[in-house]
């Protein structure tokens, strides 16, 4: 049933894409906040 391949790929692409992007954002965020003092961040 080749349909299953398409369907599963959709889920993999979707959540894989989101997870990859989330990882990218977190990493980039860490790099930027590493050098900043705590009191300058509005959310801390």
């Amino acid at each position: 049933m080749e349909d299953a391949g398409f369907i599963v790929s959709s889920y993999v692409v979707t959540f894989g894409g989101v997870v990859l992007y989330a990882w990218y954002v977190l990493r980039r965020g860490k790099k930027a906040t590493d050098h900043l003092p705590d009191d300058s961040k509005p959310w801390v």
């Binding site: 398409f6 889920y11 979707t14 959540f15 965020g29 050098h35 900043l36 003092p37 961040k41």
Partner: protein, 271 residues
């Protein structure tokens, strides 16, 4: 007179806060929930068979992508037309646009997979698909403009104007494409019925999809915007930090200063 004020940096702090951690956890539960219902628990469709399972991803992704771009446009308007011209709005616009592009890419790819199963073709030149592709390219252009450089205020101004021009342009493109496709009556006999009759469980799964994607969007926007804020602050504060570091290095005979004694420079958060 030796420089007495230095800036203490604390490493290890990220863009996460207790609230976002909870949100992240709930989102992961939502993802697992959606996968469970979408792939396993919900039934196949009468017309489309199993391929309807892809719609539980494709439709929410599309809706969130459009929502993201509405947020970008609204934030851009707020930046331009409020008195304070707060850069926070610009950063929200940028973060939302980036996530909108991500969701739009997912919409297109997943939509093509669904199309291959349902219509037998990856792409059809219908009004909605074509406009979606245009929206995607338009926002890639927007993101490219955001990276043109200059000060944060310059970036904010030109991006905001561009976002509002996109609000003008997208309906025009959509209307043109609709008129254009109206010339070509797609023979319904060629494509199987794209309409889906949703029973209760399928509707529930679709709604779960919307909830999960919304959670993902919110979590991503919060983190992305905080990252942008940090990066903008780094541009402002970074120079001061670097200078302070260099000054400290230039005094060789001084013993290293224990952390507790170092006075902390007050860093003003630009409003």
């Amino acid at each position: 007179m030796a420089e007495t004020s230095t800036v203490r940096t604390v490493t290890g702090r990220t863009t996460s806060t207790p609230h976002t951690r909870v949100l992240g956890l709930v989102t992961l539960v939502g993802v697992a929930w959606l996968v469970l219902f979408g792939l396993v628990l919900s039934p196949a469709d009468q017309n489309q068979g199993e391929s309807v399972r892809i719609l539980y991803l494709h439709a929410p992704a599309a809706w969130l992508a459009y929502l993201a771009f509405v947020v970008t446009a609204a934030a851009s308007a707020l930046f331009l037309f409020t008195k304070r011209h707060s850069l926070g709005w610009d950063r929200l616009a940028g973060a939302s646009a980036e996530i909108g592009v991500l969701f739009m890419a997912i919409t297109l790819v997943v939509g093509m997979l669904w199309g291959r199963l349902t219509w037998g073709v990856f792409w059809r030149w219908d009004a909605r698909l074509t406009t979606t592709a245009f929206l995607f390219v338009t926002y890639i252009g927007y993101l490219a403009v955001r990276r043109l450089g200059g000060t944060a205020e310059q970036r904010a101004q030109r991006s905001a104007v561009l976002a509002l021009l996109a609000v003008l342009e997208i309906p025009l493109v959509h209307f043109s494409v609709k008129l254009w496709r109206g010339l070509h009556q797609d023979a319904t006999v060629l494509r199987p019925n794209g309409d889906v009759k949703l029973d209760n469980l399928m509707l529930f799964t679709l709604l779960s999809g919307i909830v999960t994607f919304t959670l993902m969007y919110v979590w991503l926007v919060i983190h992305r915007q905080r990252t942008l804020t940090a990066e903008d602050l780094l541009d402002d504060v970074g120079l001061e930090l670097a200078l302070a570091e260099r000054r400290r290095e230039s005094i060789p005979s001084r013993p290293p200063v224990p952390q507790a004694e170092v006075p902390i420079t007050e860093v003003k958060v630009p409003s």
